[in-house]
Symmetry: C2
Subunit: 219 residues, 2 copies
């Protein structure tokens, strides 16, 4: 898809050389990220809330308790912008001006629909758990009817989206390159600590491998 | 400040036991986070974009090139919602339903004003660099007039805000506690990799201590 095929709202205006509209690249970012920021408007007032998400084919599943401000409105199919950002590093230039960050960001625009069918909702919740901790869905107890009723899931089609990213070294002015200032990149990623079992987990029950060896784009 | 003192838009509706409105706690979250997500509305269409930020006393500085969609509109003082989220861990319950995340989130609502005074803008840019890499501002070359003109900074007063957070272990149903399923928390935080010098940095110039020993709430 070329930039000219996209809708106006998803067309990147600023630093277009950092923009792309490739579906596979967008999916890789959505799949790596653990948190998204969902934005919506109420009478011109913006709200941006963090949510757990998962990609299910060509749609984005968003989790939230059904009573929240967001879910009630999303069920009425309001316009949303869901943004996912991965911070890959800090870019330290010789000049203050050229300091930057390396990152990968996807913005998805569209109208979310509530997932209401019980079987579809149960599958969506498993997909969300599996997105967050791959391997976990098979171990956890499935949701029962009461739990499914108490949970809200909305689905946003991944149709109108854009990617923005930056990689690589600082871009200092040529005149600054001789300055005796260290310049480069400090890579960043997600780190995990040692798993902490709760008080009800018997000491004979070790943390599963998918917890102990959890990795997600770590630096 | 109690919840009843806050404006309607910043009053937390869902899971109120996870809400707070304490300024010092909000500042700690804003100061630790490297990226914020700024939301604004254009004719009912929400936009959520990632930005570098810094706290400067009781206001939030947001950085962006002056030509962008965001900055042009922010300069006209539109309503914004700036959300900062720190992911502290994954919460693995015995049931799919009770899976969750430990996090700390601040939402700041208000109208941002462009910083236009050259001296104030230069100070704001130094504050932004110093927020991202404490110790760096003193080393980097200051911005010149041309660079300051090409940079946009807006300031958002931290007046109307709310915090939402979750800590601690999963909250499984009592009936599930006997299930032979490992449950607990997988702590998460930011990790840094080895600093990568750019091609113009002489090998005799070591990465400064503030880069080598960079820490920011690592797991």
């Amino acid at each position: 898809m070329s930039a000219t095929d996209t809708n106006d709202r998803s067309r990147v205006r600023q630093a277009r050389e950092r923009a792309s509209y490739e579906r596979s690249a967008a999916y890789a970012i959505l799949d790596q990220a653990l948190v998204c920021h969902a934005g919506f408007c109420v009478d011109g007032q913006p709200f941006v809330i963090p949510l757990l998400h998962a990609r299910d084919g060509d749609r984005l599943l968003l989790h939230g308790a059904i009573a929240s401000r967001f879910q009630g409105r999303a069920a009425r199919a309001m316009e949303m912008c869901v943004t996912v950002t991965l911070l890959d590093g800090l870019v330290l230039a010789r000049s203050t001006f050229h300091h930057s960050a390396n990152y990968r960001c996807v913005m998805v625009f569209g109208r979310a629909q509530a997932v209401t069918d019980p079987a579809e909702k149960a599958a969506a919740l498993e997909r969300l758990v599996e997105h967050i901790v791959p391997g976990r869905a098979a171990d956890a107890r499935e949701g029962n009817r009461k739990e499914l009723n108490a949970t809200g899931v909305v689905a946003l089609p991944i149709e109108d989206f854009s990617i923005k990213s930056r990689t690589g070294m600082p871009e200092d002015n040529v005149a600054d390159l001789e300055l005796p200032i260290w310049a480069g990149v400090l890579p960043m990623g997600l780190a995990t600590g040692a798993p902490q079992a709760d008080a009800h987990t018997p000491s004979s029950l070790a943390a599963p491998e998918y917890v102990r060896l959890y990795r997600r784009g770590c630096a």
